[in-house]
């Protein structure tokens, strides 16, 4: 079941790479968030305590629903629905994603996780999520796509955390999620500002500062 959830997360990443519609990006990052929330609860099911449960639930709600809920209005306000002419298109991104998958799997074999009671897929999936997030940030031009990429990266890290540790201090996990939440808030505000100042959110055109 754990492995299944992880594979679903990987697939959701590939889906993120292969779309250029902002709407679908936001949807799928939400789906990924739900998957991760479920994974957090399921992976730690045996050792479940109240605070771990709360963390899992908060993660599920935040990543699965709150973040998309915050991002979607922004996309509407700034009137952006589609990546036009990205640096690397969906096809290319997906292919690069495959390469990243291979690299992740190789790196996964090099990183031995103590204990052995965890899914062997956690590390490659984590790395793959991170690479996918990077790929989104690098290849896309709209600010929103990059935020989604950033979230995908963070999701990868979250995957590693819950996938390998049955327990992490409540304060740390909540602190991390809180930071996440604030970050997304700031992103949304910032994107609105950008749109107001530049009348677009094409980050490739933010090139006034150089040298």
């Amino acid at each position: 079941m754990n492995d299944l959830l992880i594979i679903l997360v990987v697939l959701s990443n590939i889906r993120l790479l292969s779309t250029s519609r902002i709407e679908s990006l936001i949807t799928w990052i939400g789906v990924q968030g739900v998957l991760l929330g479920l994974f957090a609860l399921h992976a730690r099911w045996v050792h479940l305590t109240a605070d771990v449960f709360v963390v899992g639930l908060v993660a599920l709600v935040l990543k699965g629903f709150v973040f998309p809920w915050l991002l979607r209005p922004v996309a509407n306000v700034v009137h952006v629905s589609q990546e036009v002419d990205p640096y690397v298109g969906p096809m290319g991104s997906t292919l690069l994603g495959m390469v990243a998958l291979v690299v992740s799997l190789w790196l996964g074999t090099r990183l031995h996780i103590p204990g052995g009671d965890m899914s062997r897929l956690v590390v490659p999936a984590t790395l793959f999520s991170v690479f996918c997030g990077q790929l989104l940030i690098v290849s896309r031009k709209k600010a929103l796509s990059q935020v989604v990429g950033f979230l995908a990266m963070e999701n990868g890290a979250f995957l590693l955390g819950v996938g390998t540790l049955y327990y992490a201090p409540f304060l740390v996990e909540i602190g991390v999620l809180l930071d996440m939440f604030v970050a997304v808030l700031i992103w949304t505000v910032l994107i609105r500002y950008l749109d107001r100042a530049f009348h677009h959110i094409d980050t490739d055109q933010l090139q006034h500062l150089k040298g």
Binding site: L107, R110, L111, H112, I113, P114, G115, T126, V130, G133, Q134, I137, A143, Q146, F150, M153, E154, G156, A157, L160, G161, T164, L165, Y166, Y167, A168, P169, L171, V172, G175, V176, L178, D179, V182, A183, I186, W187, L190, Y193, L194, A197, F198, T203, L206, H208, L209, G211
Partner: protein, 501 residues
């Protein structure tokens, strides 16, 4: 446990001050509240630092918070920079408030975020828990991002966007690294609540999985390195530094970068311990350090914007510091020394650049000639700090760079010696070429000379005198502090025997 609240207060007080400032409706009162919060924190910090160096490390909250020589040293540097910058902020924004160029909302943004930024950075250095340390670092990024665009312009928005995106990516990597080190310590018989404590990890480095620790360090290095401005991860830095208001730039350059590097430092003894003291982590730091120096040299040569110039100097000096740590031995000591020197010096130069920018209405160096004539106090401040930055004796930066060079020579790293000298040499040539006309050229007749007040003189003379004095005289206690801090980076063990409640 009684120390716990002292340490916690260092985080809480500034946050409260930030909140408190929001209730005022007078721009001056808001600024003063924010500055007051910083000053109170500085007083508390001084108390804590004094305790560390007189009685050993402080611990609190089940050892989650702690202050040892290394963090106390960084805290001291931070408080100096922050206090000076706050005083300068009074001067800098006071000017703009008087001229009516700053709205209440803008002042409110600044006053509300300025002390919490200090709180976030303090949280980084007082955390024994590597996870909380990360939380503090991320909070720093989030809190400071809006400080960049106090003056909301297209440029500052662009800079803020890049800052947020790049640093978030970096911090994301750092989080992964933090998790990996936790995973590496999975098998240790530690209470899960205590497993991410640096002191505990340090006590068990031998039992950590080496490959995972290595991977963790790479993620941490790249992640925090991004925030620290090591090339080629530094790309956000010139934009953010040049577009932020001067006091913010000063804090960015003077301490935020060091905070990030401090995080990396905490990992160094762990990694070295886990990989059997082969110098693997140190070599990486050396490489990043040298590369940063060389890259910064290239950009300094061709720079036109004063604040961007200073930003690249930060890249250079963070590179020098990283190099010092990478070389180990005397280099560690020197790198810590250099941390203070660079922070103080860079703070001063950003003050001067900011104030002169107000006077000239531009940061374009070609239009800023003759600052010693236009605004003698700040002109001298800029010239002095630039000379210090490029390693002119008898400023203390010369001394610390010399010590780093000695570490390299002693280690027989001739390639490092050559590259270091070449890089700093190129920086010297380039920056001096900028500095001389900037200070001594003929000002354009359109510029109105600006008078300087007592606070200005204090803000310039104070740092300059300290920089000069430390270059020719290092008091015994200072040396002791640096040696204690250096021992922690090198062996880590220095903290353990005396530690504990």
């Amino acid at each position: 446990m009684e120390h716990g609240w002292l340490l916690a207060s260092l985080v809480v007080v500034p946050v409260l001050a930030g909140l408190l400032s929001q209730v005022f409706t007078s721009r001056e009162a808001e600024l003063e509240t924010a500055v007051g919060g910083v000053l109170v924190t500085a007083g508390l910090g001084a108390l804590a630092i004094g305790k560390v160096f007189s009685a050993g490390p402080l611990f609190g909250f089940s050892r989650w918070l702690f202050l040892d020589a290394l963090s106390a040293y960084h805290l001291a540097v931070m408080l100096v920079v922050f206090t000076l910058s706050s005083l300068f902020a009074l001067r800098y924004f006071g000017e703009e408030v008087r001229e009516g160029r700053l709205t209440l909302a803008q002042v409110r943004t600044f006053a509300g975020l300025w002390p919490p930024a200090l709180g976030a950075m303090v949280l980084v250095v007082v955390s024994n828990n590597l996870g909380i340390m990360w939380v503090g670092m991320e909070a720093t990024t989030l809190v400071t991002s809006f400080l960049i665009c106090v003056h909301m312009t297209r440029g500052s928005l662009e800079a803020m966007w890049k800052y947020m995106l790049i640093c978030s990516v970096g911090i994301g990597f750092a989080f992964l690294g933090t998790l990996m080190i936790r995973v590496a310590a999975k098998d240790l018989p530690l209470d899960p609540n205590q497993a991410l404590l640096w002191t505990n990890l340090l006590a068990n480095t031998g039992a950590l999985a080496p490959s995972l620790v290595k991977a963790a360090f790479l993620f941490v290095l790249v992640g925090y390195g991004t925030k620290a401005g090591l090339a080629p991860l530094h790309t956000w830095l010139p934009d953010a530094h040049s577009k932020a208001p001067a006091p913010v730039s000063a804090v960015f350059s003077g301490f935020m970068l060091n905070t990030a590097l401090y995080c990396v430092l905490r990992y160094v003894p762990l990694v070295e311990g886990a990989t059997g003291h082969t110098g693997w982590a140190l070599r990486l730091l050396t490489g990043f350090g040298l590369f940063s120096i060389l890259v910064a040299a290239a950009f300094i040569l061709w720079q036109h914007d004063l604040k961007r110039l200073l930003a690249y100097h930060s890249v250079e000096h963070l590179g020098i510091i990283a190099l010092g740590f990478g070389l180990g031995g005397l280099g560690t000591f020197a790198a810590l020394f250099h941390t203070f020197n660079h922070s103080l010096c860079k703070t001063l130069s950003f003050f001067a650049a900011g104030r002169l920018g107000q006077v000239y209405g531009t940061h374009d160096m070609e239009r800023m000639g003759g600052s010693c004539t236009v605004a003698p106090v700040w002109g001298i401040g800029l010239l002095g700090s630039l000379l210090a930055l490029i390693g002119m004796a008898p400023f203390c930066l010369f001394m610390s760079e010399l010590q780093i060079l000695k570490a390299a020579v002693d280690g027989g790293n001739y390639a490092v010696v050559a590259l270091f000298l070449a890089g700093t040499g190129a920086v010297f040539l380039g920056a001096l070429g900028h500095a001389l006309p900037l200070a001594l050229g003929k000002p354009s007749p359109a510029v109105v000379p600006a008078p300087a007040g007592g606070l200005d003189v204090l803000l310039v003379a104070g740092p300059l005198v300290v920089l000069l004095l430390l270059g020719v005289w290092m008091p015994g206690p200072c040396r002791g502090v640096l040696e204690q801090a250096a021992a922690i980076v090198q062996h880590g063990s220095a903290v353990l025997p005396g530690g504990g409640r």
